[in-house]
Amino acid sequence: MATPDPILSLPPGLEAAKSEVLPPLINIKPINWFFDLNRAMSLWPVTFGLACCAIEMMSVSMARFDMARFGAEVFRPSIRQADLMMVTGTVTRKLAPTVVRLYEQMPAPKYVMACGNCAISGGPFKFEGQYGVVEGVDQLLPVDVYVPGCPPRPEAILEGLFFIQEKLTSRRWWPKPQELPPDPAPAAKGKK
């Protein structure tokens, strides 16, 4: 798991999550692999949206994109029953202590997906003199996968889920999407 970056400074009054994931008690490789496989195929995300990226999270759980096909089926309203936290949206300075607290309440093993540019770096709200936004949720929580986009497409969120599954089981379980045809050459910049 990534550790919070000590170089980036948090706004005064905020603290990063303190909980850490302990190594398993019985450390036998095949057994761990078996448990991890089971975990990877039934990740339970928490119903937790902070801003517009949450709309894409809803979309990805609905019939068209259907996250349930890949195991992340049950959105849990309580963080104590979930093991995947999708930080979908802007983490404001005011809500940050709550986000940290939620993360600390989540039973291990736990995974964090930073969805969208706001959760990754502050996104459009990062400017000199801003007072209300935490510039990147990785200052507060250890983030496992970053899904860029503003907001990310549902397919991107699915890919983020596949990354977490890959992280757990060290292989990709789903076919790779078809490559898009290469972009046409960008038009030469003309003078206005």
Partner: protein, 178 residues
């Protein structure tokens, strides 16, 4: 006498400094008046009796101080009016409208959050939008050099000035805004 003329008369009676007529279709306002902070509560009470409700309270930091704008409107027909109060000096304090319009409490808390304007009589002047433990000075306070003067804002429509102090404020030379 129309309703608007009655209002203007009432504002004059309360010692308004500037009374402006606005083009409603263009500016969304019918009448606005700059009044003294001490008259704010009595005028608001009058407006409440006439069926007006408080729409919002906006704060603007200008060279002269803090300009609070209270918008009022009726539900029955369009006719938004504005009361403006200029708070001068370092520690801006305005009377709270909480006793007349309960919703004003939140508007005032917001204004207190971002500009540090205090409201005498607000029972719960704690941060509304900012975190409780916010430590920095009010975040929307500007650098004194980058403030604009009231005259540059062209807020007043076609106005009638009833105070010499405001004559100098409104007719002062507008510097170029860079």
């Amino acid at each position: 006498m129309t309703e608007i003329e009655k209002l203007i008369q009432r504002f004059k009676q309360a010692g308004a400094y500037v009374i402006s007529n606005h083009n409603f279709k263009k500016e969304g306002l019918t009448v606005s008046a700059v009044i003294d902070a001490s008259q704010l509560k009595t005028l608001a009470k009058d407006l409440y009796r006439q069926g007006y409700s408080l729409l919002d309270l906006s704060t603007l930091e200008v060279k002269e101080g803090f300009l609070l704008t209270y918008h009022f409107d009726k539900f029955e027909k369009p006719g938004r009016i504005a009361l403006r109060v200029l708070l001068e000096g370092p520690g801006p304090i305005a009377p709270s409208l909480y006793e007349i319009f309960q919703g004003a409490e939140w508007h005032e808390r917001e204004s207190h959050d971002f500009f540090g304007v205090k409201f005498a009589g607000n029972p719960n002047l704690i941060p509304l939008l900012l975190p409780d433990d916010f430590q920095a000075p009010p975040p929307l306070r500007k650098n004194p050099e980058s403030l604009t003067s009231l005259a540059a804002l062209k807020l007043f429509g076609s106005y009638e000035i009833l105070s010499s102090r405001w004559e100098t404020i409104i007719n002062s030379k507008v510097e170029n805004i860079s």
